[in-house]
Each structure stands twice: as C-alpha cells, then as structure tokens.
C-alpha cells in the first residue's frame, strides 16, 4: 500500500508565489490529475513531489505501508517523466538504462533492459546513442527510464509531449497498466488524460 500526502505545499520564487497551500492525499490504485494553464505551477508541483525541488513550506510524504520513505528508498519509489528531463545523449539507450539501474543500486540483466526498451517500441535502436533519436523517441526513452525500477509512484508531466499516435497509445497502455496497482500523478491539460484522474487539482485562476 503506497500513499502520497501533500501537506500545505507552498513554493515561492523570490516575490512570485507559484504554489500556495496545496493539499492532497492519494493512495495506490488511484490517480491524481493536476491541471491549469501554462505557468500555473503544474511542473513545479510534480518536481516538488519527485523531490527535485524543495518547497518553501509544507511537506511531501511518500509512504509505503505507513512508513515514510527517505533517501534511496524514496528515490526508488518514484518514476518521473517530464519535458525538462533529459537522458545522456552520448550514451546508447542500453548504456543509459544500465547506468541508471546501477546508480539506483539495482541489478538489471541485459535481457531485462532489452525487454524494457522493446516495451517502449525502441527495439533495434538500443545500441544507438540518444543523440541520433528523434524527440518522440527520446520521449519513449524517458518512459523506459521511469519504468526501469518498477516504482510504485509514477509522475508524468505532459505525458504525450512529442509523441505520435502509436506513442500516445503506448502511454495510454502504460497508464492503464500502472493504475491497477500503482499510484499515478499526471500534469496535463489534455481533456482525455484529465479523464484518468480520480482526484483533480486545478492550479491558478
């Protein structure tokens, strides 16, 4: 049983208050959708939940069976996809994933990694450096990065950015699969994707 609790999250950049008093409580098997116009703080909120950005005040608690996670356990509980996230361009898909698995303290065989790459429809390109990938292929690689450690919490910021029809279908499948057991947080303005939310946070007015 995984849960994400947001307690009065506020984030200020100097004078500008981007997030103010955001509260939420989500448990595994359900999903949260964050919507709002551009610049309303969707990405910031997801970065705060991911632990990439420290909130000015308030707390984020990621819990598994009532235990609040920290450090490596917290990092490994989260899969994150976002437009401003990039993987290593000079490394191949396989090398990228092998590195991230090792950095997370996990063992993944070549076969496991190839299967993961095949799952995001990049089979056959795993030995090419990411610099030769199109933006849609890079977006698919981000899903491989996010799914690599089988995290119970999946944070997706603009999940279908740069993707073609097949890519959108792939993301739909990943979301549907994850929603069964896992916890999903989406930041999107796409009407269809908003429909995935059991809870919705509307940012900015």
């Amino acid at each position: 049983m995984t849960s994400v609790r947001l307690l009065a999250i506020t984030k200020e950049y100097g004078e500008r208050r981007v997030l103010e008093g955001i509260n939420a409580d989500i448990a595994s098997g359900s999903s949260l959708v964050v919507t709002g116009r551009n610049g309303s703080g969707k990405s910031t909120l997801l970065r705060v939940i991911a632990g990439l950005t420290r909130p000015t005040s308030g707390q984020v608690a990621i819990e598994i069976d009532g235990k609040v996670l920290a450090g490596e356990e917290r990092r490994n509980a989260i899969g994150f996809v976002a437009p401003d996230l990039a993987l290593y361009e000079e490394l191949t898909a396989l090398e990228n994933l092998a590195f991230f698995a090792k950095a997370r303290g996990m063992r993944r065989s070549r076969k496991d990694l190839r299967e993961l790459i095949a799952r995001v429809d990049l089979a056959g390109r795993e030995d090419e450096p990411l610099s030769s990938y199109s933006s849609g292929m890079k977006q698919r690689m981000k899903y491989a990065f996010a799914l690599l450690h089988e995290a119970p919490v999946l944070l997706l910021d603009e999940p279908t950015a740069n993707l073609d029809e097949n890519g959108v279908a792939l993301v739909d499948e990943i979301i549907r699969e994850h929603r069964k057991e896992g916890l999903l947080i989406l930041a999107t303005n796409d009407k269809r994707e908003v429909g995935y939310g059991d809870q919705i946070i509307q940012l900015g007015f």
Binding site: D84, K102, A103, M106, E150
Partner: protein, 228 residues
C-alpha cells in the same frame, strides 16, 4: 527482475564510469584542459625559458600556476555539463548525492593526473628543470592533485548553478586552494633540490590533511549544493 541493494562504492563507480565513457566519446573536458595546459606551458617557456630560469622556487611556482589554471579550464565540466544538457534531474532522481560527489571527484582526479603525466615531463624538459628526488616529486603531484580536484569538484557543483560559470570557477577556487598551492610549491621546490625525507614528510602531511578535510567537508555539504 531481481533487485538488490549495492554499496555506495559501486554506485560511485557507476557514476565514474558513466563520466569516463561520456568523456571518451565527446572529449569535452580533455580537449579543453590538455590544450589549455600545453598552450600555457609553451607560453611560459617561450617567455621565460630563454633567460635560463634556474631558481627552484620560481620553477615550481610556474608549474603549479600552470596546473591550477589548467584545472580551472576544465574541471567544472563534470557538473556544468549535467546542468547544461539537463541531465542533472535524471541523475538527482537516481543516484545518491554522496556517490555522485565521489564519482565526479574520481573523474576529475583521473583527468588531472592524466594531464600531469603529459605536462609535467614536458615542463621539466622545456624549462630545463632538474628534479633530484623524483619519488617525492610524484608523491607531491599525486596528493596535491587529490586536494586540488576535491576543492575544484565541490566548487564546480556550486558554480554549475550560477551565471558566469567560467570566471566564477577560478575566483571561488583560488582562495580556498591558496594553502594547498603554497604548500605544493614549496614541496616541489624541495623535491627539485633533493630534499631530505623529514622535510618531504612535513609537506606531504599538509597536502594529505588538506585533501582529507576538503573531501570530508564536501561530502557533508554536497547534498545542500546538489539539490535544486
């Protein structure tokens, strides 16, 4: 898929190997540092080599000035590149901050030592600098480099979040490296003159403790610097 937690060392090694492979393919830092070092060395030996500089203090001061500025030209790349290519977030999400610092430090140290293997013999030949005690000379370079890269790595992490990174890197590094440089200069001058063991040990002690203190402080502070 089996998952097994592994030690800090193996994660640091993963970061180190990743950086080495990246560097091998792009040659971002190596080219900058090596060319800078060789250019400076030639500039120095052209301008003063003709006078037949024999003063050991002056020679070793010139050597460390060259090494310091070469380090400043490239050692900030380890963090600046992660920020510029926007890979820092993926790294933050995946790796232990301490493993990242250690891996990056090891990378910078490798780079600096590789540089010294090329530049130092060139310096000795071009400047006609006689070295009496080679063992001690290399020991000083080794431990001096550990301290130099430890300080450069933590300052690189700071600078990667600031504007005007290039200029700031040397400005922030020099004052904290001053004690190390002063010691290393006296020590290599002693090694050129063939100093006694006791003399050498006195300098090495300072260099080793500087490196130790700098690495410890960096490990303690890195988390605060690294988080966004």
């Amino acid at each position: 898929m089996g998952t097994k937690s592994s030690s800090l060392a193996s994660k640091a090694i993963a970061v180190y190997r990743k950086d080495i492979v990246s560097e091998f393919r792009t040659r971002y830092a190596v080219n900058a540092v090596a060319l800078f070092a060789v250019t400076t060395l030639i500039a120095v030996s052209m301008s003063v080599g003709g006078f037949g500089v024999t003063d050991k203090n002056l020679l070793s001061a010139l050597l460390w000035v060259i090494l310091f500025f070469s380090a400043m030209s490239g050692l900030s790349r380890v963090f600046v590149r992660e920020e510029e290519s926007r890979t820092a977030s993926a790294l933050r999400l995946s790796a232990d901050p301490i493993a990242i610092y250690i891996g990056k430090l090891a990378f910078n140290l490798t780079l600096l030592l590789a540089l010294e293997i090329i530049v130092v013999p060139m310096f000795v030949v071009m400047m006609n600098a006689g070295v009496r005690n080679w063992t001690f000379f290399w020991l000083i370079l080794l431990f001096g480099s550990v301290g130099l890269s430890a300080a450069a790595t933590i300052v690189a992490a700071i600078v990667s979040k600031a504007n005007a990174k290039g200029a700031l890197f040397a400005v922030l590094s020099f004052p904290i490296l001053a004690p190390l440089l002063v010691t290393a200069i006296s020590a290599s001058s002693a090694a050129m003159g063939g100093g006694a063991f006791a003399d050498c040990w006195r300098y090495l002690r300072v260099l080793v403790s500087y490196a130790g203190v700098m690495i410890t402080a960096s490990v303690l502070l890195f988390e605060f610097i690294w988080e966004d």
